[in-house]
């Protein structure tokens, strides 16, 4: 219904323009309705060379056309956003309505981030999320608190890195594990006791320590590098420990955490604690009866 009302507004405004301007805007609008976005873009951009460029509705239509053209194309979204901002400048009295369109375009930036994450293009996903937040605060609501969104996003990002890790080995695997840990740390900076982030960070660091040891055993590693590698793996095991312990306090029955703790203590050569958690695992698996 809102769209129908909007169409009438555009038509009314078009009558206030000269013939050339009218033709361009009306053609753009017709193509837009028919979802012929390539033609719609050509017409609306041509309209900007006429006095239609002085009308907020022209810019609003341009914003809608560019967004609809390809919601996964940041270039088009940028043009959409710029157009809608211009539309707001030309008609401050229509701010509420135009803000609705701006919100829609901003949501498309957010959806690009989701799309990249689903495709495990994770650096691009994070970059798109950051752009979404920047543009949201710049153009819509400078006071919005993104803490809750950040927790959700960076948890999902950490988990996505952990999924991606499974497809790699060697140095790339280590790099991805580090990126997972960084994502979980971003969550822990916002919420220290976040259960999922503690598990994630603990397991990411545990895997890092264990992967360093595994990688050394797969190549001809000089003795001095073995010893340096051992020291580095110990650093990672020590980083894993507090997170796994924290998560274990919160959920003592999570097998994944117990496995992580047993492995971490084994890596730290702590037999006493290794045995405690290894026995818990055996109990869980019915092996200690």
């Amino acid at each position: 219904m809102k769209l129908v009302k909007y169409i009438s507004l555009i038509v009314l405004c078009v009558f206030a323009m000269n013939a050339n301007a009218q033709n361009y805007v009306m053609d753009a609008f017709t193509h837009y309705q028919a979802q012929e976005y390539d033609n719609a873009r050509v017409q609306i951009d041509s309209a900007l060379t006429t006095d239609a460029a002085l009308q907020s509705q022209t810019w609003q239509l341009r914003g809608l056309i560019y967004k609809a053209s390809d919601e996964k194309n940041p270039e088009y979204l940028n043009i959409s956003l710029e157009s809608l901002i211009k539309a707001k400048e030309l008609a401050p009295e229509e701010e509420a309505k135009v803000n609705g369109y701006i919100n829609s375009t901003l949501n498309a930036y957010f959806n690009i981030s989701v799309h990249y994450m689903d495709s495990l293009m994770l650096e691009k996903s994070e970059a798109a999320y950051v752009i979404y937040k920047e543009k949201y605060t710049e153009h819509l609501d400078p006071t919005r608190d993104f803490a809750g969104n950040d927790v959700e996003f960076y948890l999902a990002l950490g988990d996505a890195y952990m999924r991606k890790v499974k497809s790699y080995s060697g140095d790339k695997k280590i790099e991805l594990s580090k990126q997972a840990a960084e994502a979980y740390y971003t969550v822990l900076d916002l919420d220290q006791s976040n259960y999922d982030a503690n598990i994630g960070a603990g397991i990411a660091y545990y895997n890092l320590g264990a992967d360093i040891v595994s990688n050394m055993s797969l190549t001809e590693t000089p003795l001095e590098e073995i010893q340096a590698g051992i020291e580095l793996s110990i650093e990672y095991f020590n980083l894993a420990l507090p997170h796994l312990k924290k998560a274990h306090e919160q959920n003592p029955d999570d097998k994944q955490i117990i496995e992580g703790l047993a492995g971490t203590y084994l890596g730290l050569q702590d037999d006493e604690n290794f045995n405690i958690f290894n026995n818990k695992l055996k109990d869980m698996e019915g092996g200690n009866e």
């Binding site: 689903d118 999902a156 010893q227 492995g263 890596g267 050569q269 695992l281």
Partner: protein, 170 residues
């Protein structure tokens, strides 16, 4: 106008498992020792035998899985599990796990005229005739070397191996 927001796929952590990094490191060290020690000529024929005596299946499996068939010089590594002393002929390396350490004195006696590198994993083993013994430096897995014993076994140890050892008995 309806705006559809995507949603994150969350809550999926990579499944972990208890990875035996301790055995991985010991096996790696054993292989590296083999590359840094020179054996007499009569031990450079046939396969390069690494024998494991005792219940440390973690080390045995790591050695078998990662190093069996690799080369030391012109020799191919052959990893063997020994169940008794009678099975041991003249391995290049004999890894004696902790549960068999009580037999160390008799083993070193049996091997005193041979050029077998005796590797152990229990404190005090160097004094009982082992050449290299695994020890801990805090949480760090390292090793100590008894150069006197290696000389008795006619093994030439690279200076790097002794210089990076936790302790060296001359």
């Amino acid at each position: 106008m309806v705006f559809v927001l995507g949603a994150w796929t969350s809550g999926v952590n990579a499944p972990t498992q208890v990875r035996d990094t301790r055995s991985t490191l010991k096996a790696l060290y054993v292989y590296t020792f083999a590359t840094l020690i020179d054996w007499p000529d009569d031990y450079k024929k046939g396969n390069f035998v690494i024998g494991v005596y005792g219940s440390n299946d973690g080390v045995l499996n790591e050695l078998k899985g990662k190093y069996n068939g690799k080369a030391i010089g012109s020799q191919e590594i052959e990893v063997v599990k020994y169940s008794s002393k009678t099975e041991m002929k003249k391995p290049n390396i004999l890894y004696i796990s902790e549960d068999k350490n009580s037999q160390l004195t008799s083993l070193t006696d049996s091997f005193k005229s041979k050029s077998t590198l005796m590797v152990t994993e229990k404190d005090g083993s160097l004094q009982k005739g082992a050449d290299i013994n695994f020890v801990l430096d805090g949480s760090k897995q390292t090793y100590e070397v008894n150069v006197k014993n290696t000389k008795k076994h006619k093994l030439v140890v690279a200076s790097k191996l002794t210089s990076l050892a936790y302790k060296v008995i001359e």
